[in-house]
Amino acid sequence: MLDLTYETPKPKVIAGAKQDWELVIGLEVHAQVSSNAKLFSGASTKFGAEPNSNVAFVDAGMPGMLPVINEECVAQAVRTGLGLKAEINLYSAFDRKNYFYPDLPQGYQISQLYHPIVGEGEVLVELGSGVARTVRIERIHLEQDAGKSIHDMDPTMSFVDLNRTGVALMEIVSMPDIRGPEEAAAYVSKLRQIMRYLGTCDGNMQNGSMRADVNVSICAPGQYEKYQATGDFSHLGTRCEIKNMNSLRFIQQAIEVEAKRQIAIVEAGGKVDQETRLYDPDKGETRSMRSKEEAHDYRYFPDPDLLPLEIEQAWVDDLAAHLPELPDEKRLRFMEDFGLSDYDSSVLTADTADAAYFEEVAKGRDGKMAANWVINELFGRLKKDDDKAITESPVSPAQLGGIIDLIASDAISGKIAKDLFEIVYTEGGDPAEIVEARGMKQVTDTGAIEAALDEIIAANPAQVEKAQANPKLAGWFVGQVMKATGGKANPKAVNELVAKKLGG
């Protein structure tokens, strides 16, 4: 396999009034586990149901109700851990995080504070060609999602829907290895890509399937390296946690804004308070949630309704053996097997459906040509067509492959191929049949081409003279022949004939 070495990206530097500052960022990503039923109940996880319809009595915190863990959620967390090259903890345990909130029916969230299911791992985050950051994962733990409180349906009341209550989440905690807003966004996209490949989280940020808490601090250049060398956090600035971000754009904006706020405080001689903040995209600022924080003392303790979760190495091995190919592996394989550039390979492996489509087109054909057609023609056309997904493409891989075959066999020219693609896209049909039926076949019969050329030469003596003096102008004759043959003449044959007739 190809072994790529990457250059480490430069940290983002923000110029303050007095000096330059660097950013240090760590993320806690909450990813909803893809499963049919909830983490500890048999209620459905489906999004968008009638309020309080996907609710078991245990989800509603009814007296005497007890949790029983969904094994698939455990498997999904393990798969995610394996996908992040992380340590899988055969022993983990569930703790209760106690606080009062109307959408938290039990009065506690079942989580894993002391013994998470997944330990340390890492993610390679590409930031342009040949540049990538390795972000270390500290841990992944399983926990319950809360319900939803709706505050704008009534002037004096809040309304509570428990459908989401108890849905399994994976909290993926990174080390403070991220050094800029773009890196943070790229990290989240990479996690999303990996989880989509694994089928462990659908990554839908609009529906809240993925949310992030972002820890941001600032430090003077050189301080981060000291932290790295010693592991001593005191070299870094005080961090603030921006809660509940559900868009890549907002994550970037919030980091930028928060860093600038901290710089202003520090440069004015002040001290940053460690606290939880919220990003307000309308105002473009973060604000403190301190009042909420002070009242909190989560009183974690092991959940006595659940025994420790012990899993067997053989089970983990089995999950590992059935893990799908991961994005990094696929990207390298596409480069190797199909001779693609790093860039094209990245584009084609961004999404599993894209990659699968491409592979079907490329099978037994020229990989580069297939990549070119998928990326430039198909993706471009889908984008224009209401940003359709590859799964909605009117052109199947077999149809696109058929078009490429017609080019490869010199049956049609590249230009005609684009017309043909448009016909297949809008009208459907078998490309070879369309070419046949509509007379789109390339003219390779030199007799016919010669006749057309002779006619043009005879009609344009002045042009002939010019072209003989300056061979670069011969292209005009090629164009005229193509025009006369309705674009069907084989361009190579035309070129040869023009050169022969004009200059010999």
């Binding site: 048999g42 309080n52 319809s53 909130y101 109307p102 409180s149 009242a295 025994l307």
Partner: protein, 95 residues
Amino acid sequence: MSIDITTAARVAKLARIAVPQDDLPKLADELNGIIAFMEQLNEVDVDGVEPMTSVTPQRLTRREDVVTDGSQQEAVLKNAPDAREGFFAVPKVVE
């Protein structure tokens, strides 16, 4: 360790139980009595002792990933002090 009135008030707040200001000294006293009783535990040498995780060790029961529950909105809301339009209604939560 002893519980003063401020601590008693903080504990009551954490437990979300309204305790009138006048009752806090008595509460603090009672809690102190109980805490003092617990202090006996400090006499025990617990070095190297594992805290108990489950009193009858066994393999944690698992369920299959099958939807077997839910679709019972009426039953879920039936005992609610205030339910409207399929939701539980509570006094406004100010974030």
